[in-house]
Every structure is written in C-alpha cells, then in structure tokens.
Amino acid sequence: MKRLATFAALMAIVTATATACGGAAATDAGAEVDVYTTIDGTKQINASAPINPFNPVGSVFTGYNGMALAWARNHPTDPNRFYPALARSWTQSPDGAQVDIHLQPEARWSDGKPVTSEDVRVSIGLAYTQGGTAYALDPKAAGAAADVRVLDAKTIRVTQGANRSAAFLANLLSTVVVPAHVYGALLPRGFWDTLKVAQHDRGPAGERAKAVITGLADKVIAFSPEQDVSAGPFVLERVNPGAALLRRNPYFYNSRAIGPDKVKVLNYTGNEQIWNYLISGQLDNAPFTSVPAAVMERIRGARGSQVITGYSPVATSLAFNQSHKPYDNVHVRRALAYLIDREQVTRIAAPEGGTPAATTSGIHAKAARAWLGDGFAELEPYRLDPAKAAAELRAAGMKLRDGRWTMPDGSPWKVEIHVPASFSDWVSAAKSISSGLGDHGIDATVLTAADYSLYLSELAKGEYDLGFWLIGLGPSPYNIFQRLFGQANGWQMFGGRLTHVPPGTGGNWMGGPRTVEVAGEGLVDPGELTSRLNYVSPGEQRRIVGVLARIANEQLPAVQLWDYVNTQFVNTSRYTGFPPDDSEMLRLSSGVWMQLGMIRKRQP
C-alpha cells in the first residue's frame, strides 16, 4: 500500500510537471505576440537543405527571405499582372521584345549592401544554369532571354530572342534575385561569353558551351551560404526540422509596412497536422489546405479563426485514355459525362475547396467566363441526364443486356477509374462516380495506386483507361490548354518545333486524335493551336481559347469535375488586416501581404 502511495505521488509530480510545462508554454506564447506563425504551402521544411532559393527545398521562404522582381497577381486571364517587389516598375517595348526593369531605389540586402542591377544580372546568369522558361539555352526556345544589359545601378534591360513568347514578361518578373556578393563566385570567368556561344552557335562549340553552363547546375543547387543574406522583409535566423524562424530585416525597403518582429514557419508531415495547428489556434495564416467538412467546423470554432476564399485557377478532371476502347469513341465519353453528378461528387469530395464545374471547357469557370463571354453559356453543360447518356451509348454501338451496358460485341464493359491512394478527395470522388455509374447500368470500379509517383508513372505509360488529372492551370492560356493538348496528349515542343508522338510513347497517355473537325473552323490541330497561344496577339489568343474550349467541350478528352476554390485560413486573435475574399493577393504568401502593407498587430 505504501508503494502504491509512492507511485501515486510520483504520477502526481509528473502530471504537475507536465502542466507546469504547459503553463510555461502558454507564458512563452504570451511573450511571442510579435511572432507571426504560418506554414509554407509549397514545400515542407528541410533543415538539411541550404539557404539557397535555387534548391527546390532550400530554407528560403518566398515573400519572407526569398525575393523576386515582382509578385504575380491572381488574375483570371492576364498572366502579366504583377505587384512590385524588388522591381519598383518595368516597361515593355510595344512588340514585347524588350523589358526595362527599374529597381527599388531603397532596396538593400540584410547586410546593408544595396540591391543593384548587377545582383539581377548574376541572378539571371544563375537561372540559366537551371534552365527552363525565360532561361532556356536552346536558341529556338520560345521566350528565352537573349541579352541582359545593365543600364545603370538600378536599371537593367532584358531582351528576348527571336522566337518570342507572351509569357516572357511574366517569367522574367518571377526571377528570384540573390546577392551578387554571395552568389557571384558561382559563375566562372567568361560565363557571359560562354552563354552567348551556347545561345547562338548551332555547332559543336555551342553544344560544349551548353554543357559548361548546365554543368554548373549541381554546384549552384548545392551552394550553401553560411548565413542568410536577404533583401526581403525577413532574414532567416534559425531552422530546425520542426520550424524555421525568421527575424525582421531592418534594411528592407518598405520596413515600416512590416508588422511582426519575427515569423515562425511550422513544418508538417501531412494535412492532419495543419488541421491540428488550426484547431488549436496556433497559425495566423495557413494557405490552401484540403479540409473535410467536419474538420472545417472545428477550425471555424477556434477563437479568431476566419476563412477567406478566392479564385484558384485549377480544376480537377476525369481524363480518358482515348487509345483504349471504348473511350476512343466520343459518344462513350459524352455518355459518361451525362452520368456524372458533379454536384454530388463535389459535395462528397471537395465540399470546402471546390465548386462543381459548370461544364467542361478546360478552363476554371471564372476564367472561362472572362475569356469566352457569352460563348461560355453556349457550351453543352452535360447536366445529369440518363436518357441522353443512353442515346450516346447506343450511338457508340454499346449494348444494354439485362440492365447492364456491354461493349458493341457483347463482351462485358467495366469502367476502371484510377486514383492515387493518398489523395483522399480524388478517392472519394472516384467512389462517388463509380457508384453513380453502377446505378445506371455501367459496371465501374476504383483502383488506387500506392502513391502519386507510381500513379503518374503508370498514367504516363498509358496503363489506365481513366484517371484523375489537374487541368485549367491558369492564368496563362498556354498553360491552361497544354494540360489537355500538350505532352500528355502527344504534342511535344522540341528544339522550337512542335511534334506529335503516337499514343503510349513520349508520355502520350491521353491518346487523342491529332486533328479534329470543328464547326466553322474545319480541321483543327488543337496542340498546334495551344502552342500558338504562346506568341499571338491578345485578340488572337481570345479567338483560339474560344476554339479550344469548344473542342474540349465537344471532344471531351476529360470531364471537368470541380473548379478549385482558394480557401485560406487566418486567425485574427493576434493580427488583423488580412486580404479580403477574392483578393488578387490570395495565392501569395503572408510575407508578400506584409510587403504590400497588410497585416497589423491587433491593438488591445
């Protein structure tokens, strides 16, 4: 009995200690009024990674200690709208070939040195080693920067090559800027001359020069500065596997606009952890996170919790492999579209993060209305209609036997819908669709892939009949339609030339026809039209978007299920002044909001 009493006393001490620790934490939290707590929605924290923005998992947080020339606005149709960042302003020549960038006159790095045109030049040089977008080495690549010239300490001119792209300005302004006095040594002597050879020489010398530049990629990506030197509102103080701590940069050009003294970016291993942070009121802001309805109720119940919603230029679709029977027949695809109850699917799969797609256009409904105007209403809406579905199936030659649809030769037909097991919203949607199809005489089943990597690999090999696929990735119209009429459907841009590869090769898993007949347009190559969106005039872009939306609607390479809603979580217990619903800032980080003068400490 005496021993039992001792044990009980020990347990009491442990409990008291734990409670005291909690109290201390609460006290700590009370003293942390100036610490703004958030998560980085684009990546998880990796404390082993260098403080280097060229490293995809580096400890650089966009908008806090990571700075670009400008920040993209969330506009439904115009990808060239930006908020100023290190570039105070910019001017583009009427033909779009040349851009003059004027830097913030007061911009300084966190070590007190001024941000200059040379910093931008070095950053562009480093971006060439990584390749892609405006910094492709291929002279035929569209929208690649061909010349970089420092006009003065705060002005730099960038000219694009002969193969111009409408995306050039957007890609240029998105350039991440790093300090030349920290990163400059990564570029070897003679780098710019080598770059010229790589861009202009089509012979062996050009190939050698390209190899020299791309050979620097490893060195650039692995570069690990001893300490952070940031031109942003914050500078990294410390990072561990659980969180990163950033302190205010007194040299930031708009330092007076910054409310918090510090920012803590918490790490997470999955959405559940973010939900716990939100329910316990730890986060001042969390970017878009998929949340089930029951959890959403608990998050809303947390003190100070608010939800802001806005436009998110992404949609989820159920895409067909048109090289597999019977999905090569457009009537079958249409029949399935008439049998999918998108309202119900969205209610089950994405009640908070999605709105049922109005129809299939390949574009998010908000952008579609802006691009197509009255033309949007003229698209076939594919509302739930079993009678129309039956007519389409008959038109495809499918047979109805004992209440079940079969293939034209009478063999069984089973719709197999593939999803990655880790995407709970897609799994729920697939189950809802398969159940609905079953109710209308079509055998359907849901097959899950162990992880996303495996799913994408098998999808790309053409092993699936139907799979979930993100579409409508705006605002650039090229990006929107390349998801339906790009590499996944056989069109590839190689050396500035568009080619089409057969289904099952080169990542062509959609297997659609190379050309389609469009009323009033004749025979159209959708991939070629899509690639033209990169360089044609805005008026021509609008016309092409209209044609491609009609093709998507009539040919149905995919059935658009729901359009995403950007659901942001904020907590106004400690800070106020968050962007309102539908703000064009919503897809940017809290760090950018602060730069733009938002987020203030709540006054007692």
């Binding site: 942390e32 998992v57 990597s453 990735l473």
Partner: protein, 342 residues
C-alpha cells in the same frame, strides 16, 4: 596470462571474427538486393515533384523552374553500371547524393535523422522494457490478485492497440483539446541550440508525446512476455530450494528475474538494433525528423540514393545488434558460454 585465459581470449576473437564476417556478407547481400529492388520501383521522381508542386498551387512555369535541374540527379547507365558504381562508392563510405534534398550528401541526411531517432525510440524502448519487465514480475507474483489481473489486462489491451491510434489519441488530448504539449517537431525553433535550460526543456517537452506513445505501444509486449517467463521460472526447483533455504526475498527475486529475463534480453538487443529503422508512425504523427520518416519520404519521392542508404543503415544496425546480443548472451548466461553443460 594463463594458457586457459589465452585460449578463452583466442576463442572469443575467433567467434567475433566469425560473426563479423557473416555480418559483412549479410550486409553485402541486403545492399545488393535492396539496390535492385529500389531501382525497379516504378515511378518518375521528377514528374511526381512537378505535379505535386502544381497540386500545391505553383504555376506550371514555377514548377518547371524548380524541377528542370533535377533530371541531372537521376541515376544514369545500365543497372550493372549503377550497381558497380554504388558498391565502389560504398567501399569509400559514400552513399551518394540525395534527389529529394538536392545537392546534399545522403550520409549527412542520415546522420541528422539518426540523432533525432535515438532520443524517442531509445528512450521509449528502454522505458517500456523497464516498465514492462518490472510490472511483468509483479503481475506474475501477484497473478491471483486483483492488481496482477489489472496489470496483465493493461498489457493485453495496449498490446492490441495500434501505435498510430495511441499516437493520434495522445495528440488529440494533449496537443489539441488540452494543449499542454506540442503536437509536432523536435524542439521549439525559438530557443538557441545548446546546453541551456530553455532549449533542453523544449527538447524534453517535444519528446514527451513520442516517447510516451512508443512506451505505451511496446509496454504490453514486454509485460506479457515477462509475466509468462516468470510464471514458468516460479515453478522451477531452484526457486523452491531458495525459498526453502530461507534466502532473502530480494535474492530470490534476483534469481527469478535473471532467469526469466534471458529470452527478453535478445529481443531487447534486437529492438535497439531496430531503432535505426526509427518508428515510422510515431515520427509521422509527431513530425519527428527521424530515420523512419526519412525512409518514408525517400520512398514517396523515389530518392534512390537515400532509400538505399537508409536501408543499409537499418541493416547494419540489426546485424550489429545481433552480434552484440549473441556475444552478450554468453556473458549473462553461463550455459551458453560452456556449450550448455553448466
């Protein structure tokens, strides 16, 4: 040194050498098999990273900028060329460079994760062992009493509850409903790392839930095994003889525990070897950056070098634990030392 001592030392050296040779062969075999399996896992890591970035709201241009360079990190050459290169690097203790943390050496990632694994898993293993063994003896001795039944029942219950259920339950109670403990991460980033009270206190606070989860999850197995062993030993003649000779209760208890614990000792040694595998569920739930979480992340991101390195470290841990257990067993049980004739 007497001849007998020299003979014993020689026998021990031969035994250790035999164990080490067998261990090295085992490590080579596992490294080879895991290399082939890893390379045959389907999936395109760069494509997966690109699409994941789109999922997280990046534009296609941003995602392309972030991933274009990663194609240079993918293994090149035939499987045989990759294998010979891998084995050659292993001989120089070079595990290669990570794809998911591009530019960083795998050894550095594993070293960092191992340090975080040791605290919760080792503490949890030892705590659950001590608790389970002590309570197991108590439950066996008092097996006809209410407390003995209660202890045995607690063991059965906890043994049957999956570790992730315990972890999620504890998180829900102590980190969300009654938030007195942190729900994730190894230490509060606001404290300067070092031997200062704030940092150490934060380290302990963050370790409480993972350690308690691990302890509760493992405790059931230890108590049930110990109770069963003690009950068996209780019926042995030497215990009866010790009691009849009127030996002190403490001495009888020592006889009892020492004989009953022998089978558990091997399991403990293997558990400590397994600690290099971390505890996947616990590390995932509490965002504890140990080897288990590293392994899971390396698989999902198809980081071949990191996967191979992590498997190798786990293999080495288990092989070494096996050798140590085998050698130590002969120390604590003389019957093994003398070939069972004692």
């Amino acid at each position: 040194m007497t001849r007998a001592t020299a003979n014993r030392a020689g026998a021990l050296a031969r035994r250790v050498a035999g164990h080490v040779a067998r261990g090295l062969v085992m490590i080579w075999l596992v490294a080879t098999i895991s290399f082939v399996i890893i390379r045959e896992i389907p999936g395109d890591p760069v494509l997966a990273m690109y699409e994941s970035m789109l999922q997280k709201g990046m534009s296609p241009d941003q995602a392309e900028r972030a991933t274009a360079v990663l194609y240079g990190f993918l293994p090149k050459g035939s499987l045989w060329e990759q294998y010979t290169g891998y084995m050659g690097s292993l001989l120089h203790f070079d595990l290669g460079r990570s794809l998911s943390t591009p530019g960083v050496e795998v050894t550095s990632l594993i070293g960092s994760a191992a340090s975080w694994t040791v605290l919760p898993v080792l503490a949890g293993t030892l705590l659950s062992f001590l608790l389970g063994v002590t309570m197991g003896v108590y439950a066996a001795v008092r097996r006809s009493g209410r407390l003995g039944d209660l202890l045995a029942l607690s063991g059965s219950l906890l043994h049957g509850v999956p570790v992730y259920v315990i972890g999620l339950l504890l998180t829900a109670i102590f980190a969300t409903l009654w938030p007195i403990l942190p729900s994730g991460g190894p230490v509060d980033v606001e404290f300067t790392p070092g031997l200062n009270a704030g940092y150490l206190g934060s380290l302990v606070r963050h370790a409480v839930l993972p350690v308690v989860t691990y302890t509760l999850a493992s405790y059931g197995g230890w108590i049930l095994a110990m109770k069963s062993n003690v009950v068996t030993v209780l019926g042995d003649d030497f215990i009866l003889a010790a009691e009849l000779r009127g030996l002190r209760r403490g001495i009888v208890f020592r006889y009892l525990a020492r004989n009953a614990i022998l089978p558990l000792f091997t399991i403990l040694a293997l558990s400590i070897g397994m600690l290099f595998g971390g505890s996947i569920f616990i590390e995932e739930i509490f965002n504890y950056p140990g080897l288990g979480l590293l392994l899971v992340n390396s698989i999902s991101s198809r980081d071949y070098a990191l996967m191979g390195g992590t498997f190798l470290v786990i293999t080495i841990g288990i092989v070494v634990a096996n050798i140590v257990a085998d050698l130590l067993y002969s120390v604590i049980d003389p019957r093994v030392r003398s070939g069972g004739t004692a």
